[in-house]
Symmetry: C2
Subunit: 644 residues, 2 copies
């Protein structure tokens, strides 16, 4: 048997290995480290390396795109050495992703050419004639004449600014700087309005806010350049009052509950403002505009509107298209006269986070049949093209956010975020956020674990744990049958981390609700899910979903992976767009007005679709051909669980 020389970079070591060896073996022989979380089964894609030379035969290229292969990538565990080779091992850091809540400005680009002259908020200097006995017009009239000269003949001057007017015009030698809202984009036909007046030049900034049930995110935007000066995110301080919107609504009904919830989210935003000021040096007083997205409940709580009717049939919110307000109306800690533009939503369970997401993901501009899903604490779905959009919300519950699951947790330090299970030993490998000992499982970890347990045959298609397997990992626990992913000695809590049958059922219900949503939407407009040309996944949680595993459990439809795009927090990206441009803002209003909302709880076909989706991956496994083939190959099992 011939030996081949394998050069390993960047260490620049050379090893000789016999023909037929795997690249992974050559690396190990050199004493170098390579991650193989799935145990060398070619499923996780974590051992991808860069090969140069003709001596490499790829047995499997699962997880590699055509472009990846073209440019030389190969899976170390699935690539057979048949000649001399040079193998570059990428920096593991570079293929690890990190939980980044606070990004620096440079990573967010202005999404289109920005023109400050089309911005509603403008800053400029005005020159007033000095008064005399011959010209004794009052200060305000002088200012109004100057504003008229600048093109704003009927600008409103709020009392708060009139109060400062006398001293500012005199201290500035009758040449003050003004900030003016030429157009309030959510108030058609409204007059221009003065927002500030000062002796010194002002560089106006604005704030884009996405109020998620779990996380509040903010961009600080330079209104001269349109650039994001800084961004920040923080858990919504309302979490203490309930994890999901329903529990928040119930909390709001308690004595003082609404006021507390309103206060808590304002405090969260205040904290973001403190951070942004620290990082950028921009005072919140110079924030002259805020554009806000959030689901309908979050929008109600932010505005201090009782959300009660949202959870009572027929689920009517007080407002989908909030009224124009100023920051002082809600004690938002930016310039008190700044307009606060709460973006329009569609219905009680499809809010402005979704309309902003549709704007950001481009669904309303494309001819392709597109499925947009925002995986957050709720699961909202939009199906459509530039011509039409239909939407619904799936009460998925917060299982994918770690709630309702014994060892579930949010995606913070200590959360297992990805899992591989060895199909022979049923031993798991996992990656923990932050790299330390695990405390629990976050949403992506749960999806990953559920998929692995299913594919390796630890649970059957009905979600039942197979207690007869030859491993201590499966057992009858206090909460019924369960799988132990981490033993007490390996965890930071000192207890075992498990996934119980009850947890599995919760996860099945959550994924079934979302998939049933897809089905009902598609049926309602007479298209098939298979015809969907692109699936756009928004939501900061969506960013971390492993598409393969999400398909394996039947959360996402079984489409070619390259049809999926993970866009991150589309809500704030859309909010940022709507802040920058009146055209985008108008487009968003158009989206909100034009979208057809399907109330699933009033739709008889939903329950059938939901029930059918309670299996792994689905009652009709034929709808998931790629999963069927893997499952049969990996586990060597035939379909079980009473499905067709």
């Amino acid at each position: 048997m011939a030996n081949h020389k394998v050069t390993l970079l960047p260490a620049n070591q050379t090893v000789e290995v016999p023909t037929g060896s795997l690249v992974a073996e050559a690396i190990q022989r050199a004493g170098l480290d390579i991650a193989q979380p799935c145990g060398g089964q070619g499923r996780c894609g974590r051992c991808a390396v860069f090969v140069k030379g003709d001596g490499a035969r790829r047995r499997s290229t699962l997880r590699l795109s055509a472009e990846d292969i073209e440019s030389g990538f190969a899976l170390a565990c699935q690539t057979v050495i048949e000649g001399d080779l040079t193998v570059s091992i990428p920096d593991q850091e570079r293929i690890e992703r990190r939980l980044v809540t606070d990004k620096t400005a440079k990573s967010i680009e202005v999404p289109f050419p920005y023109d400050q002259n089309l911005q509603g908020v403008r800053a400029f200097r005005v020159y007033l004639p000095e008064p005399s006995f011959q010209d004794n017009k009052d200060d305000l009239t002088r200012l109004e004449i100057a504003l008229a000269g600048a093109g704003y003949p009927e600008a409103e001057v709020p009392l708060a600014l009139v109060r400062r007017l006398g001293s500012v015009v005199r201290e500035s030698d009758w040449s003050p700087w003004v900030v003016l809202e030429a157009e309030t984009w959510n108030r058609p036909h409204g007059p221009a309005r003065l927002i500030d007046i000062a002796t010194d030049p002002i560089e106006p900034v604005a704030l884009a806010i996405d109020i998620g049930t779990t996380t509040v995110s903010a961009y600080l935007v330079d209104l001269i350049t349109g650039e994001v000066l800084g961004s920040s995110a923080e858990y919504n301080g309302q979490i203490h009052c309930g994890e999901d919107v329903i529990s928040r609504i119930i909390y709001a009904g308690r004595d003082g509950g609404l006021a507390e919830l309103s206060h808590r989210v304002r405090e969260t935003i205040a904290e973001l403002l403190v951070r942004l000021e620290k990082r950028t040096g921009v005072s919140p007083d110079h924030i002259y505009k805020a554009t806000v997205a959030g689901n309908t409940t979050m929008a109600h709580l932010f505005l201090g509107l009782p959300p009660t009717s949202i959870r009572l049939a027929p689920f009517i919110p007080t407002v989908n298209m909030p009224v124009p307000i100023m920051a002082h109306d809600i004690d938002l800690g930016i310039n008190p006269l700044a307009s606060v533009d709460c973006l329009p939503g569609v219905a009680s369970y499809v809010g402005s986070d979704i309309t902003a997401g549709v704007l950001a993901c481009g669904l309303s501009e494309t001819g392709q049949l597109t499925l947009f899903i925002d995986v957050g604490t709720n699961g909202e779905i939009v199906l459509g093209t530039h011509d039409w959009q239909v939407t619904c919300a799936c009460s998925a519950g917060p299982a994918f956010e770690g709630a309702g699951v014994v060892n579930g947790m949010r995606a913070t330090e200590g959360a297992i975020e990805e899992v591989w299970v060895n199909s022979g030993t049923f031993e798991p490998t996992w990656r923990v956020i932050g790299g330390g000992k695990p405390r629990g499982l976050c949403g992506s970890g749960l999806i990953s674990l559920l998929a692995e347990l299913f594919v390796t045959g630890v649970i059957d298609r009905g979600g039942n744990v197979k207690l007869d397997l030859d491993t201590p990992r499966v057992r009858q626990g206090d909460h019924g049958p369960e799988y132990v992913i981490a033993w007490a000695g390996e965890t930071s809590t000192g207890g075992d981390i498990t996934l119980t049958k009850v947890d599995v059922d919760n996860l099945l219900r959550a994924k079934a609700a979302i998939f049933a949503g897809f089905s009902v939407l598609a049926t309602s407009v007479g298209v098939r899910l298979e015809d969907v040309q692109q699936v756009l996944v928004g939501g900061s949680f969506g960013k971390y979903i492993n598409v393969e595993k999400a398909i394996q459990i039947g959360l996402l439809p079984d489409l070619p992976w390259d049809r999926f795009k993970f866009l991150g927090n589309t809500a704030i990206l859309g909010t940022y767009r709507a802040l920058l441009s009146r055209d985008e803002r108008d487009r968003l209003r158009h989206i909100a007005r034009g979208m057809t909302y399907l109330e699933l709880s009033a739709d008889n076909s939903f329950y059938d679709a939901f029930t059918a989706a309670l299996f792994l991956p689905h009652t009709e496994i034929a709808r998931f051909p790629s999963v069927a083939s893997i499952w049969e190959r990996e586990a060597g099992l035939t379909p079980a669980g009473g499905a067709a």
Copy 2:
């Protein structure tokens, strides 16, 4: 000598008196009482009686009009009995006037036919369709559609009402009552705006307020009928911070001074609201509109605007035409969403109390050359017709309000308000507000006393006290020469009440400033004061001025008495008109815009006119022919004091 029978009514007593007796003597002979404050000199008019029969010869009819005489009135002290007579003695109560700050509603009439459909604020009920799964529009959209159906397609709904919307529409079975401001009269082109929404019917009311430097007055107005439901007045709580506008402006410049002054006037208004609610049962929450007048400094303090520049040349206020605001902007204790319409003024020293006064007095609607004077803490004057108006302010100072005078006081209980001095004995008779012992002299008392002292020769035309008169009433006091009007034993203070030479000088300066204002205004437009066809006197103080005495001291021009009309508080009457009708409101804006303001301190002719007016009644006594004749007759003196 023949006797005549005199029957006295209502006592129905008969006495016989010889020919040539006075009616006053007949009354005294019958043991009845009649007031003769001037000591029977025929000057005070207080002994007016009603005579029937031919036996009465009127020696003097001073203070009686032609109509009075025609209908039988005569002065008891000046009417000689030459035949049988019936004499009716009027109830003294009925000819006494009282200081009435709080009037009942019935005394104020709706000044023109009122049409509630032309009112800006309207209340009505709306009917919304109940939502269902098939019709899941949000609450606000339902309301907006209903308002559009009522003729208000783009009505603004403030956030505060959106906050109550959900519960009110449900509790009212989707048929709430709304209060809407269809037009905000001081905000042209502004949209309709919702002010209230409720489950029960609402009867909207409004408030007219006049903020005087000394007194704040308010009318509570029914917006359905236009009627005044109640009125109330109270001293401005800012008095503790200074008596006149200049001292208030200085106080406002102190640390926290402006905030305190703003707060104090709001407290005064709050007190009026408490009284009005007690009297009418109308909650301040149902006050949906306020219209406010006040001099420019009062308007600034009310709005929290620093008034500093008002007293610095060239005397420029921050605003003459205040911006539209809502009650919550200034913490006014009425419905927080009510519009507060601060009426437009003209300049730093001619405020909206004067423009409202011009509206109320009819100057801007008459072809007659009219002089309007508002005698308050300041003296503002307007000269004009419907075609033109010219105005100025005389820094008269607060002497006529009792300040700057040793024993001066405001027109409250214990103030001497009218005085007669016996030209033989120099003994005074006075009337005290409330009827008890005197504490001091109010404005009308001071004018009265000054006139009496002048006419009876106690002081000369230069205001010098003649210390050589044979009476203990004149003496050299601690503050220089003085006249004692009340001895310590007669007063409630236990000290003498006097008028000193210094006081006289202050009063002369005050009246000279006002008269100089008249002169300069007339000269500026090329008319003579003698050509003035009517003199309209506003201001609650003006209401009590004795025109004869005011002419005698040269405060008012020497015109026939029937050209003078005393209109009371014209500021609040005009405010009431501007509240009732958009036409009146527009007229007021037109008045404010069209009036020509003369800044006296920048007018060289003012100082000459002022100096000329520092004498009693004036350097050129020929300008006061009626005074010259009385003065010569009563005092038997020739002009003194170096005047021509």
